[in-house]
Assembly symmetry: C2
Homo-oligomer: 360 residues x 2
Amino acid sequence: MSPVTTRRPPTKGLGDLLLDLLAFPSVTGQEQAIAAWLVERYRTRGEAVRRIGDSVVAGEPRAGLPTVLLVGHTDVVPFASGDGAAHRDGGRIVGRGASDMKAGLAVAMDCFEDPALRAGRFGVLLVAYAREEGPHEDNELGALLDRVDLLRSADLAVVLEPTDLEVQLGCMGALHAELRFGGRAAHSARPWHGENALSKAWPLLRELHERSLTEVEVDGLVYREVLVPTQAGTRNARNVVPDRFDINLNYRFAPDKTLAEATADVGSFVGERAEIRVVDRAPAGRPYRENPLVAAFLAAAGAPIAPKQAWTDVARFSALGVPALNYGPGLTAQAHQAGEYVPEANLATARAALARFLST
Amino acid sequence: MSPVTTRRPPTKGLGDLLLDLLAFPSVTGQEQAIAAWLVERYRTRGEAVRRIGDSVVAGEPRAGLPTVLLVGHTDVVPFASGDGAAHRDGGRIVGRGASDMKAGLAVAMDCFEDPALRAGRFGVLLVAYAREEGPHEDNELGALLDRVDLLRSADLAVVLEPTDLEVQLGCMGALHAELRFGGRAAHSARPWHGENALSKAWPLLRELHERSLTEVEVDGLVYREVLVPTQAGTRNARNVVPDRFDINLNYRFAPDKTLAEATADVGSFVGERAEIRVVDRAPAGRPYRENPLVAAFLAAAGAPIAPKQAWTDVARFSALGVPALNYGPGLTAQAHQAGEYVPEANLATARAALARFLST
């Protein structure tokens, strides 16, 4: 790994910057203040700044050079009881959003604000967006990508979600299907007059229970496809043979499948056994491992490489043909936990990796 | 069948009496007016009358003679849209509660009011009680049996619920058990970190689905025991491996079992697979077929004999050692139906059968 030179000690400044970010509560839907602070911070520094909703894009492409986006969301999940003001505790920085993902946002900002890195081989833009932790349709990254053309022509997006300092490539697609089993109601004292929609679901539940996960290799990375029943319910009175039983089936599919292919998978699994209604679906993100910039990032970061076994916003970039990867200082196990923290040393490690990529 | 003599034509009077009863809406909880009308009717006639809540007991035991109770509830289920005023329509009497069970109450009253029958071989009491169609704990027959000693020392209770003019002996017991399957929560993208409480229920659902009903012969009558899952549900979010899945299991058991034995049956069926909480239970009613008064009723009625494949209030009498049977003019298929009716001819048939029993 090559040494990195910046004009200030990154660890000290990074921890303080993270504490500044954590001082904004910025629970999903309440990102106005942090957005205004970011706009002011970068206007003052003479950057090009766009604000759309409560999301901010700072910086500009540089003619003739590839564009790299440093991407983070500004919102956090609601505070747990006992969550207090952010603070240092030994080697940790504690606070709601410390790992998910203000640590990543601090690293992105610190690199973006470093003239040496900005003078390197890329045009670097900072993308700080709102509403990631809420419903999918409210996530402002969608609106940003719709409305800011230069994001769609970027050459690489680095999404700094918590990854335990691994480079996590691609992401799983996610689909929810409501399965409705039909039957015929009857008084439960005379069930032979009806057909029980609940108990007739047993073969499907058995297949789901005994099904092993499917390992799918894409670009040399192994993604684990899973088909999981997550909710179920009836709607009849207690003394009635149920004429309806609904199961929510969650399919997490590998990046080699389109949404249409994933939907077809569910259809062929369920067959004629139940009515199927797909209620929510998010595409997978490609790993782009063979992409030259992704390869360069992997070489510079020197970090473990893993497939992303969940959905992240890299899928939005992937859907537009923009290569994207997940890399961040946060701990995945700390995301959404009460007493959330990030090891302060992770900030410096992530910053150094990103700086190597941007400067070498 | 022996001819029956009464002092007025029973069919005409009975139909009019039923229309009088149907003129009170008396939906469960609104039986005040019909109760007051019954009290006034029998006080005027010089009968001994007790009112407890909205329930009425009329008549007295006769020294040295067995006591027979003629039992009916005064309430009806809520009116359906389109239910209008009660009326005759050809050979039918139409109205909310016509079959369930004001037809039975009319027959009971008409017999009770017949001096020839009252002078026969029994002491005859009329029991018109409230709140049968609502929750079990509100049913006023329970309070009546607690507070009116002479009911507990009766020799036979004839419950005039709709039975299609069959004598339906005994009744099934009913028990509801909440089965709770436990698991371990995890993100649904990584189900291998958890244990799915929903899909692990498949073996139990399979056994329930494939289970045939169990025919149990008691006193020469065949009751059909059934174990039916009637409700099910999870409580977690859509992207979570469920750590809990609840099934409501309804057990309808034959009159040869006590509540404790029925509870043990459920326990041995479920075993260690789920936690069991019994949430509602009603004992079965014995058929009492060998009881001399029941045998006399069967001989006098000349009606088809059948087991009662549901729970009725005969179980309350049975639990106190008072022989009881179900016999009434209403149609079971009309109970709780929109446009409920009873064939007017059924009133005369039931009255004649009851009169033969009371007088011969």
